[in-house]
Symmetry: C2
Subunit: 443 residues, 2 copies
């Protein structure tokens, strides 16, 4: 093994979120953690978000001068936040006697498409990062941002984009692991603000984490997990305010990849012990649109969804019901609440053409999702889930499932009760032996 | 003439300082001014400083995390300020229905050496700016910043650097004129806070403006004027809070270059009428060091000044006096006050080697300078100047002169009185016919 290869093996990418970098003290604390990792013998590449609420403040400033700021300029503005935090982190590290060099997304070789505001990374060419590492310096990279391949304009990756930057850099640099530092201890079996007995999940698979992120768990960005799964980069989600282990997101829960030296204690689970349900996610940011009185003709539903798709809106769950008496159908679907007005406008424009009766927009809904790779091999999970909701007086309005997930739309007012009930029913309150507890609930 | 050449002829570069961009309202007002210039038929390239006190605030933040921040990282941090203001100005222009595109110093092709904190522009390759102009867009360029030729690191040009950016871009784009928008109406015959009757100077030569800037007039940065003189770019210094004409800085007062259409009223002066003194500048940011008891040997003075030069400190005025009795000499010199401690430390280190007796550091001084190309052809200006100071009880400690300037070091407490006295004595209070007034003072 060459020394180059050894270096690559001990490389760790660390990403620090805005809450960890809220002020000068936070920045100094982060610098100490970075230097400690370096002193433990690892090469470190750091990715930072903007300090505290900087990005939101800049966004407000933009709206003060223009109600609809151009995407190119909004991206130019918002990327100032990471430029500030990365330079400050580099200075704080220098003050501890180590050399650090900050790099913008563009300088770090984060190449994206040109979709301002939610650009996708299409390539990473981290030549300057490798150069800094070879010089013994600690590279500090601006998260959330890149440069478009064609026009060389500055782009941003959308909310949570810094996580994606970190994983993409970890993949490009063949890092051993990617640590995502945040203000919580890891991924939990449910939101502890709703379920105080929720437990930290020690290890979760990429697939489960993807479902969690898609169903409202905010700790990791969906695209970041997709990237990690594609390149098989183990992610360690943990708190920057403690030294506790967090949650490992890996390819296989039974064969978690080791982190760097200090993290060799990473928990491993026996496949036999694997719980059926890994966690309960919830989402308050969706809404439903119901289209009533749709004529019974071939292709009408397709027309409706084509209109929505052309407006750039992703829909999630769909329920269709047909009246035997009239032959007319009603279609309900869920979509991000913020896209509701645009979808309603679009559908009203084609109402005459498509020939439906009415449109109903409902914001007072919530979505609860059970996620667990274990449910593949356990029939009856749906029945127990619906039973638990019914026993607690929660009415189910829509349902959708995947191999490792069951989701239900309920009244917004019932959402907290539904999350608590499901968490209890599947024994997530009571330690790790979920399969045993599950048996004990009467099945 | 090709359309390319016509475009170049009507191109104006406008630079807006931080006080003009202090908040959202300021940004909108600047956007309206830019759009008005465009609507008047000119192509416009805009250079912006950071909003209000942003740069100072970022600097304070840096000192919160590191007492001596590395220059590379400090530059990375400080350049965030212009990134914010340029994007906001571009948005505000878009909101008025015109396309604007913001560019960092690096994107605008401002290539510098690698002296972080006070880099020098070594080349300007404004391909993307020309491209934006060709597309009909208004380029908004971050002032104060560039990218180093070798290491591709972000650099800053030092205080007032945005003025230099504007003039350098005007030269590279063959612009007709460069407008520097600030919060005062132009260059004045003296600081109006000291001399309420000070008048705005309609036209001033590059050489005079260089002397004014070097002698403490803060309205334009020295390097910016050097650049304008070298490339013969007329500068129009004016207020962004009014539409009044400001001060034209040009190659010849008698043959001022016309500005763009709206500025065709630019004043021209008959060379016969040219005043002897154009203005009175003052500087409170200097100090003196006196080295006493220097042995009478060849090369000792050179040794002293070599030490100072090697510490990177520029000295200004020098006075040497030799005692006939002992043969020993005293040398006094002025230097920027902030460099005082470093210079004293350096000289103390070599005291034994050089063999002088003592060092005296004095901060309680001020410098007053008379500037005017007219003094070339009028002997006796010095005598009248010294007479005016003496008549008002001001003691002169050091003197230096150039072809178009006389400077005197006085006690700090006397500085305001000295400025007022000189301004009065040379008739600057009383309208433009200074030569006549000068004759009236008894010469």
């Amino acid at each position: 093994m060459t020394s180059e290869e050894r270096r690559a093996l001990s490389l760790v990418v660390q990403k620090y979120g805005g809450s960890s970098l809220a002020d000068a003290d936070g920045i100094k604390r982060v610098a100490q953690r970075i230097v400690a990792t370096r002193k433990a013998g690892h090469s470190v590449v750091v990715v930072v978000s903007a300090m505290g609420d900087t990005t939101d403040e800049l966004h407000d400033l933009a709206l003060d001068v223009s109600p609809v700021p151009p995407g190119r300029e909004l991206d130019m503005l918002l990327t100032a936040g990471e430029r500030i935090s990365m330079a400050l982190v580099a200075m704080a590290i220098a003050n501890l006697g180590f050399e650090a060099r900050s790099f913008t997304g563009s300088q770090a070789g984060v190449i994206t498409d040109s979709t301002h505001g939610k650009a996708r990374i299409i390539d990473v060419t981290p030549g300057r990062i490798s150069g800094a590492l070879a010089d013994g310096a600690i590279p500090i990279v601006a998260g959330f941002q890149g440069v478009s391949a064609g026009s060389k304009d500055i782009t941003t990756l959308g909310r949570g984009g810094s996580d994606t930057t970190a994983v993409a850099l970890a993949a490009a640099l063949a890092a051993q692991t990617c640590e995502i530092y945040t203000d919580v201890d890891g991924v939990f079996t449910a939101d502890p603000r709703i379920v105080p007995s929720a437990r930290k999940i020690p290890v979760i698979s990429y697939d489960e984490m993807l479902e969690m992120a898609a169903c409202g768990a905010k700790v990791l960005h969906l695209r970041c997990v997709e990237y990690a799964r594609h390149y098989d980069i183990p992610i360690h989600v943990r708190s920057s305010f403690s030294s506790r282990e967090g949650t490992w997101v890996t390819g296989s829960k039974a064969h978690g990849t080791n982190g760097p030296g200090e993290h060799d204690e990473q928990p491993r689970e026996d496949a036999m012990d694997q719980p059926i349900i890994t966690g309960v996610a919830h989402d308050r940011d969706e809404a439903t649109i119901t289209v009533t009185g749709i004529p019974d003709k071939v292709g009408i539903a397709a027309k409706i969804f084509r209109e929505i798709a052309e407006a750039g809106i992703n829909i999630d769950m769909i329920v269709q019901s047909t009246s035997r008496a009239t032959g007319q159908a009603d279609i309900s679907f869920t979509l991000p609440r913020q896209d509701g007005p645009a979808a309603m406008t679009r559908l009203r424009e084609v109402q005459g053409d498509i020939g439906f009766e009415s449109l109903v927009f409902d914001e007072s809904i919530g979505k609860i999702s059970l996620i667990g790779a274990g449910m593949r091999s356990h029939p009856g999970v749906s029945a127990d889930f619906f039973g638990a909701l019914a026993d607690n007086g929660v009415n189910i309005r829509m349902i959708s499932t995947s191999e490792i997930r069951i989701s239900a739309v309920v009244d917004a007012a019932d959402l907290d009760e539904a999350v608590s009930a499901a968490h209890r029913a599947f024994g997530l309150d009571d330690g790790r032996g979920e399969a045993v507890v599950y048996a004990g609930t009467g099945r």
